[in-house]
Structures are given as structure tokens and as C-alpha cells.
């Protein structure tokens, strides 16, 4: 099985979200191949899950003050701070038939690529259902998946060296989580590649490790390719939705 690997991109939030949706849609129409890509956010962005209320989850004043963008994803799950200098995001787009029907099993398969990637970088890694990967026993990656039109999009975060203090200023932590001693224990439970390795690998190095990991876990060969003009065109059409206030404040 051969899948396409796209070059590392740096885009603003609405463009990145639009590219992911365009790939999903065109893959479902069999106009785009199964694809893996890695990308960074410029400016740094908080993405919220499609069911989250932006007002409840994000301190918009703090975001504005720090020049941090805020965008709603088409995938569920929680709010994520994508630090331009310390976070790498991946997307996997494929036909639904290429992953298990069972949702948790499909996360296990795709996250298995990350597990092997982290291992290549020298960490002990494991999948934690539903959608997390642990590095040396602590959360180091979270993913979110949607299934539409017969295809699957899974995207997620790889924590290289994000600004964790800014992250907690940006994200409103729910009282329920605080009651779980969330804040006090967060540095015990969440880690980064830099913290575990004692060095900050380059984005390309992480991309390379994860790509090889995906090849192994999914049993495929990645061949380098570019976005097609159809994909770029559809992404440009979808971009305004993600940049709109209406979409951001949907819930």
C-alpha cells in the first residue's frame, strides 16, 4: 500500500483546517490519495473541539493579548494550544475501509504510528485509549478523528516544547477538572519531547521519525508528493468558514 506524504507546511489556522477538510472530502470522492501530512501553526493557535463552547474554554482576552488565534475544528475532543515554536501537528486522511470500523481500534492503529515515532526518538511510548499517546508514562500527544462521506480524518498534536504556562493562561480549566487536582498534577501527567530527551529536536527530525512510525504501524510505504491544484482550490473555498465568527461561536 502506498500513501502520499506531503511536505511540512506552516499555515494560519483557517487554512490548515481547510486543507484537512479538503483532503477528507476529496479522498472520499476518490480524487485524493490516502495522505499523511505534518504542519505548524502561524500564528500560534488554540483549536477547540467541534462541540466546545469557545467562551467557556478559551480566555479570548489572553489570546488577543498574546496574538494567539482561535479556531474551531471539525473533530471532537478538547482544546489544544498549538505553539508555533513547540508543537507539530499531523493529519492522516484515508478511506474508512483502511482502518478498523471500531473507533477505539482505529485510534489505536493510527496512534501506533506515533508510538513508534516516539520510540525512534528514544522515548518509551504507549497508546492510551481513546485518543492519547503517553511518552515515558505521561501524555505527550492527543488526537481527534472524524469520519465523513466514507473517509477518515485523524489529526493530532505532538508536544515538542510548547509554552505550558501560556497554555494554561489561554485555556479555561473546568471546575470538575480542578476538583480532580488537575492543575496540581498537570506537570506530572503531561510532558514534552524536550523534557524527556533533554534536547529539542527539529521539526523535520520529528516529522521523519513519525513518518517512519506510520509506515511501520500502518504497513505502508510513503511517497513524497504535493497538494494538487484541486485540493488547494477546495481548501481556499473552505477557508472563510473556519475564519468566520459564526463558525467559531457555533457553540
Amino acid at each position: 500500500m502506498e500513501w502520499r506524504l506531503l511536505p511540512l507546511r506552516v499555515d494560519d489556522a483557517s487554512m490548515s483546517m481547510a486543507i484537512d477538510e479538503a483532503l477528507l472530502k476529496l479522498n472520499a470522492e476518490s480524487k485524493s490519495p490516502n495522505t499523511i501530512r505534518f504542519w505548524r501553526w502561524l500564528p500560534s493557535t488554540v483549536s477547540i473541539g467541534c462541540f466546545q463552547s469557545v467562551e467557556r474554554e478559551v480566555d479570548l482576552e489572553v489570546a488577543k493579548h498574546h496574538g494567539v488565534d482561535v479556531v474551531r475544528r471539525i473533530t471532537g475532543g478538547g482544546a489544544v494550544f498549538h505553539d508555533h515554536d513547540g508543537e507539530l501537528t499531523y493529519s492522516v486522511v484515508c478511506k474508512q475501509g483502511d482502518v478498523p470500523d471500531d473507533i477505539i481500534e482505529s485510534y489505536r492503529l493510527i496512534c501506533g504510528g506515533l508510538v513508534r515515532g516516539f520510540e525512534r526518538l528514544g522515548l518509551r511510548a504507549e497508546f492510551k485509549p481513546v485518543n492519547d499517546v503517553l511518552g515515558n508514562g505521561k501524555k505527550i500527544s492527543g488526537s481527534a478523528q472524524t469520519r465523513r462521506w466514507g473517509s477518515v480524518l485523524q489529526h493530532g498534536t505532538v508536544l515538542i516544547a510548547p509554552d505550558m504556562r501560556l497554555m494554561f493562561e489561554l485555556l479555561r480549566v473546568s471546575p470538575e477538572k480542578i476538583s480532580d487536582k488537575f492543575i496540581a498534577s498537570v506537570f506530572e501527567r503531561v510532558t514534552t519531547i524536550e523534557r524527556e530527551l533533554g534536547r529539542k529536536p527539529s521539526f523535520e527530525e520529528v516529522k521523519e521519525a513519525m513518518s517512519r512510525g506510520f509506515e511501520k504501524s500502518l504497513g505502508l510505504k510513503l511517497s513524497e508528493g504535493e497538494l494538487t491544484s484541486d485540493e488547494v482550490e477546495l481548501a481556499s473555498e473552505l477557508k472563510p468558514k473556519y475564519a468566520s465568527d459564526k463558525w467559531l461561536r457555533k457553540r
Partner: protein
């Protein structure tokens, strides 16, 4: 308007609702859970409108929602939605 949160095994369910004569007249659900397909959440909200805010009626409505949509919510069970709604109704 009542508001409450409930932490399910995967995700915090946040419910804002209004009651009229003990029945839900308006409800809005948000949170960091997963639901497939995603547009089913609107169906869940619609299903809940007009339902009496007691455990039995709510559970029946939520189960009806799962039955009619085939929605999947990993590690979030019907009882978790009911618990979140009851808490909001009690506020």
C-alpha cells in the same frame, strides 16, 4: 437558565437548559467528548426538548436518540448525559 457540568470517563459534558413546567424547553450541550457522526449532537438536543426532567424520562429519551441515530460516543454512556442534564435542571 440552569447550567452544570459532569465529567464522564471520556470528556466533560456541559449542559445549559431551561425548564418550563418541569420539562426541558431549551437545551444546549457542549464539551470535549467525541460523538460520531458529529451532527448527531443537534439531534440529541432536539430529542430532549419537551422531555420531563426526571431520570426515567431522560434516560428513555437519550436511549431513543442512540437507537434512531446510531451515534457512537466512546466512553460516554446514556447515563452520563442524564446525569449532566439532571444537574443542570437542579441548578
Amino acid at each position: 437558565m440552569g447550567y452544570a457540568e459532569f465529567k464522564a470517563p471520556k470528556g466533560v459534558i456541559k449542559v445549559e437548559l431551561e425548564l418550563t413546567n418541569d420539562a426541558i424547553s431549551q437545551v444546549s450541550i457542549s464539551g470535549d467528548f467525541f460523538m460520531y457522526p458529529e451532527d448527531a449532537l443537534e439531534r440529541l438536543e432536539q430529542t430532549l426538548v419537551g422531555v420531563k426532567a426526571d431520570r426515567e424520562s431522560l434516560l428513555a429519551a437519550v436511549q431513543r436518540f442512540y437507537g434512531s441515530t446510531g451515534a457512537q460516543t466512546p466512553m460516554v454512556e446514556p447515563e452520563h448525559w442524564v446525569e449532566a442534564i439532571l444537574r443542570a435542571a437542579g441548578e
